[in-house]
Amino acid sequence: MLSIKNLHASVEGKQILKGINLEIKAGEVHAIMGPNGSGKSTLSQVLAGNETFEVTEGDVTLNGDNLLELPTEARAREGVFLAFQYPVEIPGVSNLQFLRTAVNAMRKHQGKDDMNAAEFMKLAKEVSKQVDLDPAFLKRGVNEGFSGGEKKRNEIMQALLLQPKLAILDETDSGLDIDALKVVSDGVNALRAPDRAILMITHYQRLLDHIVPDYVHVLVDGKIIKSGGRELALELEAKGYGWLGVKDNTTASH
């Protein structure tokens, strides 16, 4: 489904990604781990089309289509979804309005009619329960005054509503307590489907106790230096990144 070949990207002239190669098939869950500053978040932003980053070399295709040629919104409509690490607030715009606008943009692209306010309200209420968010959140401004955990749940709710082909989760576990982690993980597991690929970006292995990946990759200094199965994450937890000859003041076990 997703094919990344020799991807290089920079921001303000500084090279961050230095040749990423990655193949993800439909139905698979991949985890990318790595120390701070290794380029994990940059990879997710580049895939989603954040124009702050410049792709200097390489190819990315989604089901054979060149993703890099498409603007952000077109990638989204093709099924690329990014759950943000730090979702931004949009004051005064209700979550409900935002979500309905997004869902209708997607439906329009798929040649379907707009969902009216009543239909959408019903759907949104159901999905909000799935991530344990009070439907009252739908009336509040987008991420306005949400706690860290609420923001993350809101992101997963959006993924559930938009039903993407490729869901990229950028540090979705950061800042969550155990209970919230459980709720978010349940939401992500509900996303798992044979026709969907999930790419999880995380610093810590604990998320992988809840969402068990098919593959784990270790990203260091803009390159994937090691790939393996679930056991690789456990090994990292036990030995830290230092085990791979990487200097890091944190370990994967926090």
Partner: protein, 482 residues
Amino acid sequence: MATTDKEVRELIKRDYEHGFVTEIESDTFEPGLNEDVIRRLSELKQEPEFMLEWRLKAYRRWLEMEEPDWAHVDYPKVKYNEISYYSAPKRPEDMPQSLDEVDPELLRTYEKLGIPLHERAKLAGVAVDAVFDSVSVVTTFKEPLEKAGVIFCPISEAVQKYPELVEKYLGSVVPAADNYFAALNSAVFSDGSFVYIPKGVRCPMELSTYFRINAANTGQFERTLIIADEGSYVSYLEGCTAPMRDENQLHAAVVELVLLKDAQIKYSTVQNWYPGDENGKGGIYNFVTKRAACIGDNSKVSWTQVETGSAVTWKYPSCILRGDNSVGEFYSVALTHNYQQADTGTKMIHLGKNTRSTVISKGISAGRSSNSYRGLIKFNPGAEGARNFTQCDSLLIGDRCGAHTFPYIESKNKSAIVEHEATTSKVSDEQMFLCRQRGINPEQAVSMIVNGFCKEVFKELPMEFAVEAGKLLEVSLEGSVG
């Protein structure tokens, strides 16, 4: 940053929707201003003697005054002798008695503006007094209003029919020599609306006026006078557009609201005068004096305005809170783009006891525009227990525009309480990225973010206008992101 700027530049490049010129024959005065022009104007309008005297007095004062230059705007001086001071659509008969008699070309103009007079008016239950250039063309829904005792007519008609009301209240809120543009307006005003709501009457429908500047080189100087007698209520809507022209046109209007005891007026404006092209050529100079006097105790006035038009705006709808417990409110959205300049805000003058005022101002700047809020909150010694709350928010789109806030607070009463909050924010790249990542078009994203920013003001608008205002913002922002 790069993304949003590029987007902004493209979004801003939209065309002005209302840029068409109506080809109808007009009676237009030769350009120039002197006492003879004023006499001719007054004669043409068959005005009583007091009106002519009032105009001449204003004109003489105007000659002694100087054009103000304190506003944060910059424009070439207006050449007052190159403006024509009267332009009326020519009709075979005198005045049309019904819509059927109105020049069809004129009606088509209204259609293009999106105000099909009959249908829209009927559906919405709105009486429209349409001012086309300088003369009120037709007033609909006169009958149900007359039944309620409400007077709603062109001010030129009121001068003849209700001279005692006009003489008593005209200039009572904005004196003829109040300021340079008010004095000019007092001397040459051609038409406008007059409203009188009798004691204890709740006006049975929302009153609406559409203004439009059509003829080239014509100044439009409309004058509106609304009197709400004791215990009455009226909601008045005003919408404005003007065709596209290269040269700048002057619009110097005066609006006076008079509120007696327990009266309430809600005055809403959606202003979309031609703002000039993307290089700053053309556009309307909108120099307007709007003021309400809450003379009676417990009276309440609300100004709500959504302004997206004009090349230069100079406008401060104000409230004089004379009656005890009177309330003044000002809710404003001002959007500027390209080379538009706006210096706008309000004055809340607290004279009576326990008077209260609220100011919510939302300024949105895009392109290379400049958007200033200027507000005066004044408490006189008698304003025991008076309160004001001001909130002034600015939103920037791109990084070549400017937002300024000039708040003035003068308090001569120790018991008065004033609160002022101000924020400046940007439509951020992160917000845009979030919206686009969810499949939303950049234009739609900006429009949604801006609408969210204006929410507190939009909810004050009458339903019908709120929808229109939202659409207007959307249209005005087209091209400000790409």
